[in-house]
Every structure is written in C-alpha cells, then in structure tokens.
C-alpha cells in the first residue's frame, strides 16, 4: 500500500496515506468518531462497536471509468448494507463515510446503553471520573437515560489485584482489551488475557509473579474506564484536584517526558506528588513510561529526607542554620583553595553542574573535580553520537539497530519498547552480549561473546569491513587514521578473534556486513562486563564512521548511560582521577562509600544530598539538597536532547537547590554571581557554551502538534491516556560529526583482554535493583532485586561456595561482601554483581575494570 487515496468524510474530501484507518482519517479532518477498544498505538480489535459508521463507495461506470451520476449530477454511492467499524476499515479510493447520520447516532446510543447496563456507574468514587472516556462519550453520544433495570445489574469483584501495582475493578471493566493488547503488542509481556465468556468474561493475569511487566502502569492510562488503577494512586485524589506539572523522569538516560500531578497534602504537611503520568513526546517516549518512572517518586517526599544542614559537633551530626554552615563550608573551601576537590553525581541538572564547575574553577582555582560514577566513551559520543532528529519511531526497513554490552529492557525500558516497535515496522536488530536478554526475541542475529571480549568482537567486524572493502567511498576523504588502523588490525586475525570471543567467525562477518549494508545504523552500547571501555567505544565508533553511519539522523552511537543526566555531567564535569588525599572534599549527589567506590581521603568532608547516605554519615558537614521535583532545571538525555523540568512542589524542610547552595558559597568566596534562578544560569550557558548554543528556557519550551493527538483538551476518547506536551519538546545538541567540514577521526587502542581462565565480576544493571530511591516506594518492595553475587552453579562449585553463603568479592582492590546466589542462566566464568549497591541519587556504577576476583566465606560487614 503506497501513495495516498482520496476519501470523503461527512461531505469533506481528504487525501490520506493508503492503509489509513477510517477513524484516523476522520481524526485528521477533526471529525471525532467515538471509540473504546481502538487506540492509535494498538492494532484494531473491532470489539466495542462504538465506532460504527456508514461507509459506501462511489459507483464507477465500467466503460468511462468515471463516477456514475444521478439526475442531479451527484455521484451515485453504493452504501454497504450494514454499519461498519471505522477502526477496522481502511480507506480506499472513492470511499465515502458518514459519521453523523441518524442511523449512526442511533448505533452510538445503542452501544452506550449496552455498555452502561453492566457498568456500576460509581463515577463519584472512581479515580477515572473527570478524565474518563466512558463518561465523556456518554455525555456526548449517549442516551440520556437507560431502560435497563438497575436491579438487574450483575455485581462483580471490585478489588482484584493483578500483581502488586495494578488493581482491577471487574464491574467497571468494559472488556475492550486495550490492556491485553498493550501487553502483547507494545510491552511483549503477554501476561494478561480474557478468561471465560459472555458476561462472565474477565481480564486475568497468568504470569508468576502476577502481571510481571515493567510497563504495567501504562495499562491504567489507556484503560478507557476506571477498571485498572494503580495501588499507588487508587482513591487518593480526583483528577481535577491536582495540578499537573511538566517534568522529566529522573531515573534513566531516556529522558521520558512526564507530568507530576501534585496537590496539597495534610498527611505530608505540605505538597505531595500523587502520581506520575506520561507526557507525550513522540520522539522520546511516545505516550509510555516504565513502572520505575511511574512509581519511584516517593523518595522526593520521603519522611527521612534531610531537612536541615548538619555539622559534626563532639562527634555527632547536629542541626545548624544555613548561615552558620555556609560560613564553615566557605571557610574550609577557601582554606583549601586549589587543593579542594569535588565529586559530583550525574543526577544533578545541567545548571548545577555548570555552577559546580565554576565554583571550583573560578572561586577556588581548583581543577580537581570529577563526576561519579566515572564514565568512559564520552568523547566518542560527543563526536559520533546519534544525529539530530534520530527517532526510533521513524525507523523502518533499511534501518539497523545494534544493542551491545547492555540489557536494553533493564537499563532503558522505554527504548526497549521503541526498538521493538521499530522492528515491528521492519527495522532489523542485532544483539551482542555476554548473557541473554529480552530484546534478543526480535534479533536477526545474536552474538554471544565471552564477557570482556566485546572490543575484540568489534575489531573482528573492522577486520571484515576492511577485508571486504566495505568502507563507504563517500566518507573516505573525511576519515583520519585509516592507514594506522589498517596496520594495527594486522595483529588480529579473524580466527584468533573467533576463538577468543567465542563468536563464530561467520557471525562476525554477518554482523559487519549487516552494518555495511544497512541504510541507517544506531549502535546502542552499555557497559555490562566491558573490560576495556576506551577500546570498546573507540572500535564501535570506527565501525560506524567507516560505514558512514554517523552525523545523520537515525545513525550513530547511543550510550546506555546510567542516569538521567550522565550526558550533562560529561559535558560540564567529565571524569578524571582525583588525588588519594585532599584537604577538603565536597561530594554532591553521590555516595561513593555506599556504592563501594574509592573516594579520596579528606581532611574535611562536605556532603550535599537528599538523604543521610553512607558517605554523608562520615561527613563533617551535611547540606540538604532539593530533589528535581522542587526546582526548575534541565537534563541532557543520552540522545543529547536537552529537556526542561519544572518545579512541582515546594522545598522539603530547609532543603535548597544545589545551584542555590553553590551561589551562596561562591558569594562568600568573593564571587559576584547574580543568578536569580536556574533559568538565568541556562541563559548564560546558552550564550557561552557553543554546544548548548541558543538553548535558553524559551527555546526548550518549543512545542509542535504531535500525532496521534492523545489527551488534548478537545479529545474525548483518549482521556487519561497521556498528557499533551505543552511545556516543551527540548532541543538536541548536535554531534560533532554533523558539522559539514568536520573530520572523522578513527581510534586505535589495542584492547585489553582478560585471560581465558580469569573469573570476571560483571556489574549488572537491573531496573528494580535495591537502592536508596526505590526503597522508598513500598509498592515495589516485592519486585526489587536483592543485593547478591549471581553465578553459575559450576562457578560456585569451583569457588567452593554454596548458595546463600556470603561471598567476599575483591575487585580492583575493593572488597565487597554479599550473598552468593546460584543461577544456571548466568554464563560460567563470571559473577554478576549489582551495579548499584545501596546508594541514593548517586548510585553505584562499578567501573568497567579488570576485575580480579577472590571469593571466600565471610560475614556481612554491616
């Protein structure tokens, strides 16, 4: 089906792409055809019958091939004998649709009267009341009253838990199956289904644990009635009581657009975040978010947030006023001057990171600052990161997505959804990793390499590209270092690579050829088990540059960064080693002690955070910071999209924004900073930093209409689905390769490969890994992944370990103690460790390192 066809809807002609559904064609004309089971993101089902319309075809004269006309010259229309469902009928040339005739109105009234015969009409206590498509459509199209006897209503269970997070009200359910189709078609966790039949039909979950899916919350959004509600939000507020504040999800590098629905709360003694809803951004998260983004917001308003500055007196951390504490901090920092060091987490907004850099560089003259965790590959992402305009939603046949050294669903759940969508539309997927993952279901090719040899796999691919002369001719003049690379590769025969990586040479060839032949290639890379990060990302960059897959939309590197603003931390801070001992250390939004990472020994330790972390417990001074919900700011996603979030709730206690604290210190150190808000800081960044040129708050608030139009104010049938985006689609800061005259350098670093005998400790990221933030969402307690060292039974046997025993894992000179867990799905020769151990907003990212592992029995350290 190509090209467009002309149809007439309610006497108005429109030209739409062939294959468009009648319901969508009408929507483009602004004609609402009411629906329940239809959803523009799901396959049509034709079940609810709400969208019945009159459909006919213009009668053509077989001889003249012109429309036949009646006496008055009007085209003769052959109407179908029955009403047709607009959600399952695709447009055809010469189709005529009528959506507002008496016959159609009668059908709409009939279907609504039928639906309401089984509906409990408990709108006054229903969470959906006020944003409910059933309410809206009944008001607009329904009969004024029902002829159904109220006493004949069937009563059904009103509180059926479908797992820990989602509750089902069987009475309210209109059996449209949107939730089932979402789980099958979008999430690919087909754990919901219909059971029984007729009026006894009901939604059930058949997984163990029930409703096992990272995306379950989305079903409550697309539910057109109040049948599915979250345990978190149920009965807590009415939609109209809440103020929706646009925000950005603070948990991962995807940068999902969200809305924080807030309301004053007596219980919290202030304001509370009642729920998190997706906000439409078709190029980022469409209308979806993962359950972590939806439910892990309680930390922001948690009881145990730091509310006052603390100072150590007689060995105890004691509350102190801001005035006093700032004096102490400023004094300590100024005494240390250029010797002062700073460690800053990658969850801080750009504005704060920028000021932190200025504080050290200008006020103290110190260059000892680093981001925590340290990250590799930033320079290659800056050069060859995905081109401006990249959008998984636009990828189709000819597009290739490569996922390497990371678990897509665990680390960036919404990218997983979108990659799956791209594959459904015809894009190809290759997954390369040391252990299995869900995305492999859709992969054309799966490369299972030995952990630690990922760079070598890419060296193999380069070898093939050069051997087979597959360097894109048009990029040759731009490349620097091709000859050096060619020379360096001579030491790596393919057979050797196949043997060391464990990947058959033929697969490496197929991998390289697929990249060379694809029209577009996005290479998503993580850090799972990566031993030589510099070589790994460098080789990935080489592969893309050689084949011309950089510097344009839907091409380039896409990093699975650990946090919401890792890209910003790379842009403004960067990672560099700090001295082992410093007079003053200022740790902001990071918990290296809790995360088991090395931290310089400090004569005086200042910690600024949301919670009293392990690091904060050791501090001389603790400063209470604000969460992202309490202030304005911007995050830069891994696609380098700079996006604004807005202040949603007042500060908790006396907590101050990181940026405010930095300003207060800087003023005491003699600086003359005059920023009144993060916006003023961003104005300055937009003026002075060419990478962020023009990205002031006004520019970032730019929006444009999106398709499908869900949740807009005049929309009656996707109410509650997702919020329209009126607050900004953000701006992408371009990669360097996009500049027309930019040179494309190639990398070379001989990859370090662990010996075949060594056992590797692999930091593994899980969405629900136990941690500071997730621990404050009680609803997820049953799903969190406990802290453990997971290994194959064979590995455990070799190490003389039994399941449940404490393992002492020494990695790079650090000692970790955690219970051993035996799991046959883990490859042998490796131990999977949680990438985040305890931690608050900083979290652990164990380094991409050469792990030397010693395992033995030991006791819990704490």
């Amino acid at each position: 089906m190509t090209g467009t066809v002309r149809v007439i809807i309610n006497d108005r002609p429109i030209e739409v792409p062939a294959g468009t559904l009648v319901v969508d064609a009408a929507k483009r004309l602004g004609v609402d055809i009411p629906v329940f089971c239809y959803h523009p993101k799901l396959e049509p089902a034709g079940m609810c019958r709400m969208c019945l319309v009159e459909i006919g075809m213009i009668k053509m004269d077989p001889q003249t091939r012109q429309p036949m006309r009646d006496e008055e010259g009007r085209p003769v229309i052959q109407w179908m004998p029955r009403l047709q469902t607009a959600c399952t009928t695709r447009v055809a040339e010469g189709m005529v649709v009528r959506t507002n005739t008496l016959q159609v109105q009668e059908a709409q009234r009939a279907i609504l009267e039928f639906l309401l015969t089984s509906h409990p009409l408990d709108c006054p206590i229903c969470d959906k009341g006020g944003e409910c498509p059933l309410q809206n459509l009944t008001m607009r199209y329904g009969p004024g009253e029902s002829r159904f006897d109220y006493a004949d209503k069937m009563h059904q269970e009103k509180r059926v838990p479908l797992g820990d997070l989602i509750l089902l009200d069987r009475e309210r359910c209109i059996l449209c199956g949107r939730c089932i189709r979402f789980q099958e078609e979008i999430a690919d966790d087909p754990v919901l289904g219909f059971s029984d039949r007729g009026r006894g039909m009901e939604i059930i979950t058949f997984s163990d644990p029930p409703f096992a899916s990272y995306f379950s919350g989305n079903t409550t959004d697309i539910c057109p009635v109040g049948a599915l509600t979250t345990t978190d939000f149920r009965f807590r507020a009415r939609p109209w009581e809440m103020t929706p504040i646009p925000s950005i999800c603070p948990h991962c590098p995807v940068g999902c657009n969200i809305t924080l629905d807030v309301r004053p709360s007596a219980r919290k003694g202030g304001w509370d975040i009642l729920r998190v809803m997706p906000r439409q951004h078709e190029a980022v998260n469409e209308i979806w978010i993962c359950d972590k983004g939806r439910f892990v917001h309680h930390f922001a308003t948690a009881e145990d947030r730091l509310r006052q500055p603390l100072i150590r007196r007689n060995g105890e951390l004691t509350p102190v006023s801001w005035e006093d504490v700032l004096e102490v901090v400023a004094e300590a920092l100024s005494r240390a001057g250029p010797q002062a060091a700073g460690l800053v987490g990658d969850r801080l907004p750009n504005e704060d990171l920028y000021l932190f850099r200025r504080l050290f560089g200008e006020a103290l003259g110190s260059s000892w600052i680093s981001m925590d965790p340290p990250i590799f590959g930033g320079e290659w992402v800056a050069r060859y990161g995905v081109g401006t305009g990249t959008d998984f939603g636009q990828m189709r046949p000819g597009s290739l997505i490569v996922v390497m050294a990371g678990d897509l669903e665990e680390e960036a759940p919404v990218w997983f959804l979108r990659v799956r969508g791209a594959v459904r539309r015809g894009a190809r997927l290759i997954v390369a990793g040391g252990k299995p993952q869900k995305a492999e279901r859709y992969a054309d090719l799966i490369l299972r390499y030995r952990f630690g040899t990922e760079a070598l796999v890419l060296v193999g691919a380069l070898q093939v590209l050069l051997d087979e002369n597959r360097v894109a001719p048009e990029v040759l003049p731009r490349l620097d270092g091709l000859e050096a690379l060619r020379k360096a590769l001579e030491g790596y025969p393919l057979d050797f690579i196949g043997q060391r990586t464990g990947v058959p040479v033929e697969q490496i060839r197929a991998f390289a050829r697929a990249i060379a032949e694809a029209g577009e290639v996005v290479l998503i890379f993580g850090r799972e088990g990566v031993v030589d990060g510099e070589a790994f990302v460098g080789m990935a960059a080489n592969v893309l540059a050689l084949t011309g897959h950089v510097g344009r939309p839907n091409n380039g590197l896409l990093p699975l960064w650990p946090h919401a603003n890792t890209q910003g931390a790379l842009d403004f801070i960067g990672a560099r080693p700090l001295p082992e001992e410093v007079p003053v250390l200022y740790v902001v939004g990071a918990d290296p002690v809790g995360d088991g990472r090395p931290m310089p020994r400090a004569g005086f330790l200042i910690v600024q955070d949301l919670f009293l972390t392990e690091t904060a417990r050791m501090a001389d001074v603790v400063l209470p910071a604000q969460s992202w919900a309490e202030r304005d700011g911007t995050f830069t996603s891994a696609e380098r999209r700079v996006q604004r979030f807005y202040k949603a709730i007042p500060a908790v206690g006396e907590a101050r924004g990181d940026w405010e604290i930095f300003i207060a210190i800087a003023l005491r150190l003699g600086q003359r900073w005059r920023y009144l808000s993060p916006e003023a800081v961003m104005d300055e960044i937009a003026r002075t930093d060419p990478r962020y040129a023009g990205m002031d708050y006004g520019a970032l608030a730019w929006t444009q209409p999106q398709w499908p139009p869900v949740g807009t104010s005049r929309d009656l049938y996707f109410g509650g689905t997702a919020r329209p985006n009126t607050a900004g689609l953000g701006r992408v800061r371009p990669s360097e390769a996009e500049t027309p005259e930019a040179r494309w350098p190639l990398a070379w670093k001989a990859p370090e490969i662990p010996s075949e005998e060594s056992i590797l400790a692999i930091p593994t990221r899980r969405l629900y890994q136990e941690g500071t933030l997730i621990a404050r969402t009680p609803h997820l307690r049953g799903r969190t992944v406990p802290w453990a060292a997971r290994m194959h039974p064979e590995t455990a046997r070799r190490l003389g370990l039994e399941a449940g025993q404490m393992a002492v894992v020494r990695v790079n000179g650090q000692t970790l103690r955690l219970p051993a867990l035996v799991d046959p799905s883990v490859p042998s020769q490796v131990i999977l460790l949680p990438a985040s151990l305890t931690a608050r907003a900083g979290v652990v990212e164990a380094l991409p390192v050469k792990f030397r592992v010693e395992v033995g029995n030991g006791a819990l350290p704490r």
């Binding site: 034709g46 609810c48 009403l83 399952t88 009939a110 039949r197």
Partner: protein
C-alpha cells in the same frame, strides 16, 4: 446407485470400515483427482457443480476454494465438525456412519488448494465420534491414502483431529481457527477472510462436514450429474435434521427444493406427522435457534436456500425444529435467548450486553412479572443489536425474539399481568401496588 449419496451407510452395513468403503467405490474420486486432474480442475469441477456450503451460509464451495492464493505456503484445510446448532445432528451421522467419505472430501479439498495439512475440529461433546473418525483416518494412513507421497504421487498431506471444548461460538469459522490455534474462541474481524488469512495467518479453507462429503461423488461422477439433483441455484442432496414435536425425528436426505416443510413433517418416509392426531403446527424453526421462526402458513415452502429466504427465514444448516400448538412461544423464545446468552463469547458489546439484557427481560416475563412495555423493549433491544455485532451470533440471538414478536405477539401480551379490577382510590401511602403480584 442407491437412494443415498451422503447417508450411504444406511444401505451399506459397516461402511465406516475402509475395506467396505473401498469395495463401494471409496477413494476412487481421490485416486482420480490425484492421477488425472490438476488442482485447478478439481476446483473447476466443484465450482461447476454449484455445491453450496452446508454449514449454514450456503456460500458456493468452489468459489471459496478459488479465493485461496496459489503461491503462498503453507496452506490448510479445516473441517468444521463443531456441530453445535440446536437440532443439528447430520455431521455426527456422517462421521459415525460414513467417515471415509468426509475424509476423502477433505483430501480432495486439500489437493485442490494444495494444502499440506487438514485439521478436523470436532465439538468437545463428540468424543466418541472423534474416536471413530480417528480410527478411520488411521486406516487411511495405513492404506497410503494420507501421508507422504500419497498413492505414489509427489503430493503429501497430513490429517489431524482436534476436539473443541464445548463452545457454540467455535462453530463460527474464525473463532474455530482461534481455538484451533490454542487461543480463546473469539471470532476475528473480517476481512481478512480465512482464504487469505486463516489458520496461523496462512491461507485456509474452512468447510463443513456435510459439504465435504458431497465432494467425492462430484469428482467421481462430474458436475453435470450433480446438477441433475436439486434446483438450479441449490443443486444436490441435503440432509434435513428434523426434530421437535414430530413422530419420527431424525436425519432425512433429500434433494434440495424437491420437498416442502409439510412433506418433511408429515411425509410417510419422513417425519410421519406430529405427536398426536389433534395437534397442529404452530411454528417452524428452519435452522435451529439461529434463523427466524416461521408460522404454519409457511408449511408449503420448498426446502432450498432461496425459497426459505423468500418465506422470511433461512435454511441454514437445515435443522428443522417443529413447534406444535402445545408449545408456549414466549417460553420457547426465552429458551433460545438463554442459549445465545450462555454462548455469547463476550467479545463485542451488543451481543454480550444485549443477550444478557434480553434474558433478564424474558426472565421477568415468564416469571409473571412482565411489564406492559416489555414486548416493545424486547423488540427495541433486539433491533439495537441487529447488524452491529462482530459475528453472526449476535444477529442469530435476535431471530427468536423478533420473529416470535412478529408472528405471535399476542402470546407475549398474555404474559403481562393485568390488574384484576379497576384500581380503588386509596389514601396516599397506605397501599403499595406491585405489578404482577
């Protein structure tokens, strides 16, 4: 040639055994097609015969086969043996008495569309029938009539029997396919039709048992022979399932259009009249519960697709249920509505909710708590359902309601309780009137 074409076991004892079937010309058509006809020739022959689907819709079988794309593989033939329409028991007799004729017909269909597998979907209650059929299939396999390189040709075909789980809806061909795939039996939205998107999304022909049993004699004797039977538009023999208030219920094979309802009910070689000399026919259900009931005035309608349609109903699967003057029409309609409510799959709103609502209104009617407007309400609910449902079941469910109201409205009125005497003015609040008590 004997009197029967489909129910030949009535004349030939032990016909269900392969050796007996072979002695009586069995698998000759299969051999003929495989060795001397192209698949297209088989389709053309069946098309030319005018054979129409015996499951109820009456769609021309050869035309259905010709819709199957030639170059998409694999393809399937599915035998609809989910005989569930109330009063229908013809397929059962074929499968028990003459199973090889069905098998042979299914094989011919498979060859015609070049399918590699045949699935027989039998209703769950037909466990013993399925065993009989499986035994016959095993015999045919052993004789090299099914399997790899059948009869030494390069055509291979497999045949499997699958028992349903007892849902009426699984007789609807797309729900049947879903069920066969292991999913819940919900009808699919059509188009696409099974011919292009059937079992596991592959081109599939779904045919009724009786339909396929007609195919071997057509292939063996030719389309023009077949057309000597029946009428121009409804050629061939048909099994009529007669039940209800008749003396001799059962299956009767006759040419389409050559006998009338009256012949079938009263004929000496058919039903032999009603149960009791003094009884009269009140209504006829021509196709189980699914087609509109006809009053006695329709008795002289010939039994073919066109004539019954002209009389205001459908011949459907030709399961004729006779209601005599002792039958309470409201009760009968209620029974049928209850059946459809029980069997509605629940997928689409008007059927799921409409059948439940109809049932509740009938319940209060037959319990003596009807209201004066209930007949109107029933008619209105049924009209709200009709033409709006996803599959025909919802339309079927309105048939007993609308047709009984059309022909027997008076009987409904008798169910509405009338006040025994003129209401006496009583002081407000002292008397509670409850209609019907």
């Amino acid at each position: 040639m004997g009197r029967y074409i489909l129910l030949r076991h009535r004349e030939i004892p032990e016909l269900h055994r392969l050796d007996v079937y072979l002695r009586h010309g069995g698998y000759e058509a299969w051999r003929k097609a495989l060795t001397s006809m192209t698949p297209d020739q088989v389709i053309e022959e069946v098309k030319a015969s005018g054979l129409r689907g015996r499951g109820g819709a009456g769609f021309p079988t050869g035309v259905k086969w010709s819709f199957v794309p030639k170059n998409v593989f694999p393809k399937y033939v599915v035998v609809n043996a989910d005989e569930s329409e109330p009063g229908t028991f013809k397929d059962r007799e074929i499968m028990e008495g003459n199973p090889h004729q069905l098998i042979e017909g299914a094989l011919l269909a498979a060859y015609a569309i070049q399918a590699e597998r045949v699935y027989v979907y039998i209703r769950g209650e037909y466990r013993s029938v399925a065993r009989r059929l499986e035994a016959a299939i095993a015999e045919a396999y052993a004789a090299g009539l099914i399997g790899r390189n059948v009869l030494g040709t390069n055509y291979s075909v497999e045949m499997f029997v699958h028992l349903g789980a007892g849902a009426y809806i699984c007789g609807e061909e797309t729900a049947l396919l879903e069920s066969l795939e292991g999913k819940i039996g919900h009808p699919r939205v059509r188009p696409p039709f099974p011919a292009t998107f059937g079992l596991y999304g592959q081109p599939t022909v779904v045919n009724n048992v009786e339909t396929l049993a007609n195919v071997p004699p057509i292939i063996l004797n030719g389309a023009s022979w077949y057309r000597t039977m029946g009428t121009e538009k409804s050629p061939g023999p048909k099994i009529f399932c007669l039940s209800g208030r008749v003396r001799r219920p059962g299956n009767y094979e006759a040419e389409l259009g050559k006998i009338t309802f009256r012949d079938l009910i009263f004929g000496e070689e058919y039903g032999q009249g009603l149960l009791g000399e003094e009884r009269t026919v009140k209504a006829i259900l021509p196709a189980g519960a699914s087609a509109p009931m006809l009053p006695a005035s329709a008795l002289d309608t010939p039994l073919d697709y066109e004539s019954v349609q002209a009389a205001g109903s459908m011949l459907g699967s030709a399961s004729i249920i006779v209601l005599d003057d002792t039958v309470d029409i409201v009760w009968a309609a209620y029974k049928m509505v209850r059946f459809f409510q029980h069997e509605s799959c629940g997928k689409c709103t008007p059927c799921r909710e409409g059948t439940y609502w109809l049932r509740r209104v009938y319940e209060r009617l037959v319990a003596g708590r009807g209201r004066p407007k209930d007949p109107e309400l029933l008619e209105s609910i049924a009209r709200q359902m009709a033409g709006k449902t996803l599959c025909p079941l919802g339309d079927f469910a309105t048939s007993p309601v609308l047709s009984s109201l059309k022909h027997f409205r008076k009987e409904y009125e008798a169910y509405i309780p009338q006040p025994l005497e003129a209401p006496v003015a009583a002081p407000a609040g002292t008397v509670e009137t409850v209609p019907g008590r």
